[in-house]
Symmetry: C2
């Protein structure tokens, strides 16, 4: 009867609302540019093959483009397209002045080298930030197109008012399009062009021994998890009041209903009772990724980045 009962629940970061906020800002700026006589920005998405998940992603991206006033176009190429045919398509888009942003939806079929395709997209149209020149610029703290998912995570943290400076951050997962750039954004120097976080940052990954992971997550003020492992982050391994950002998207079978449902890498139900801030899945990082793509496309249109 005399114990203090803690019922505080985490504040849920609403990715849908934040994404709308960003898209509205992009839309407003495009409206003004168009009202001033400019043309609409233009994004071209290229898909090779018929991967259904890719088709869904593209549809969501197109929808966000329409909303913000970005003209969008998709080029669907058959699965048997050769690498050189794809490179030719990209080259044509590079040379087409009406195209501001180019995005080749990954994965590409096995007979095509992904790295070659990413590098073929002209750096100033590379809204995904996967061209090696943009990776190098980013890792050198130079302004560039930051891949949309890590950029979206940082934007969530910033807009929610969560402090990163001097804090402890843990990134679980070291993929080149999410984990690695996140670690870069969290640890690097905030005074340079990438507006990084100045946090002490730990990168955990598949070879972090299971008994070691909690050593790091328990010290963390911010945990970002992008591993594809449902319930990797449980309440017992986080610090009370920490910020938990869940990048995972896993389709699992709901034991009660037997239906497939979408979950992240965090045990949301339990962790949300202990964390300070938490993102849901769906409705967290996902919508932010799409919103950041419209922002990158607007940047490409405005030629804001100096590639000299």
């Amino acid at each position: 009867m005399f114990s203090v009962c803690r019922l505080a629940a985490a504040k849920i970061i609403d990715g849908v609302a934040l994404a709308k906020e960003i898209k509205d800002e992009v839309k407003l700026e495009i409206d003004q540019l168009v009202a001033a006589g400019g043309r609409h920005p233009m994004l071209t998405v290229v898909l090779v093959g018929e991967d259904p998940a890719s088709q869904t992603y593209i549809k969501n991206k197109m929808k966000a483009c329409t909303y913000t006033g970005i003209e969008s176009r998709s080029i669907f190429l058959p699965a048997e397209t050769t690498e050189s045919e794809l490179l030719k398509t990209i080259d044509d888009l590079n040379n087409d002045d009406s195209v501001d942003g180019i995005l080749v939806q990954l994965p590409v079929p096995d007979h095509i080298t992904e790295r070659k395709v990413c590098n073929a997209v002209a750096p100033h149209k590379d809204v995904d930030g996967f061209n090696v020149i943009n990776v190098g610029r980013f890792c050198s703290d130079q302004m560039t197109f930051i891949p949309a998912t890590p950029a979206g995570v940082m934007e969530m943290i910033r807009r929610t008012g969560i402090e990163t400076f001097g804090k402890n951050a843990v990134v679980c997962g070291r993929s080149k399009n999410v984990g690695m750039p996140l670690a870069m954004l969290l640890h690097a120097d905030g005074k340079y062009e990438t507006n990084a976080g100045d946090a002490t940052t730990t990168i955990c990954h598949r070879y972090t021994p299971p008994e070691q992971l909690p050593v790091f997550t328990k010290t963390a003020d911010i945990v970002v998890v992008a591993t594809g492992i449902p319930k990797l982050i449980t309440a017992d391994i986080i610090k009370e009041g920490a910020t938990i950002i869940d990048v995972g998207i896993n389709r699992i079978k709901d034991e009660k209903t037997g239906k497939t449902k979408l979950v992240g890498d965090v045990d949301f139900e339990e962790v949300s009772k202990k964390a300070g801030y938490i993102t849901p899945v769906p409705g967290g990082v996902g919508p932010m990724t799409v919103a950041m793509l419209t922002k990158n496309t607007l940047m490409a249109y405005k030629k804001e980045i100096n590639f000299d």
Copy 2:
């Protein structure tokens, strides 16, 4: 009388001996290539201005070149050289087929943009690994010229037989030519071309609160420190048996003799009683840096990296 008295001292990693081992391998290979009718590899170093430290570094690099059979040439330009004059010099070297490796000794004078200079060096001759394309390749786990100091640190770890896989590593310092690439080499996937370490890796830096640094260093199996702060790493904040790699080079006044002496960032005297392995300063990482430069120059000569 019944207490166990621990007198174990750390094994000191002899950077001079390891560097000689590497240079001897480079020399042997060059001897064979030349015996088979090849020309000698050729490194050109460019220095703008008369910074005495830079001159010493260049002298050491030249000496290692001579030892290994690499022809070397220095171009000394006056401090008032304009940026475009320097870029023209680099361009000439890029187009000179007799030059395999180009190194612009940093820092350049303030009126010259360092980033522009680094990017001007052709990627396939960029033995320092500072061109943005090489930074991007490296951070994407692609084979490339890895900057000589972090490459030297990893080589020390490997040749000493220190395990990194699944271990905890802490990097103190986040500079783009040492700390950041070290964090990349330590954490990334060993199955790719950079032969990275698969360690759980924490990046600490100037904004890591002083009371937080020990939290991480005490868990670390490997600590690499590159901060320019003498005695940042003391015996009380490391784990017994850990590997301590000291990249720091600080000139301080010896309190006893009044003379200037060279020290690292580690309290060597005390830490060496507790660590498992430790590198001295001088004679640790420094010689490794120079040795790795000869290795990179040989790679450039052999055109081992596919930049397509």
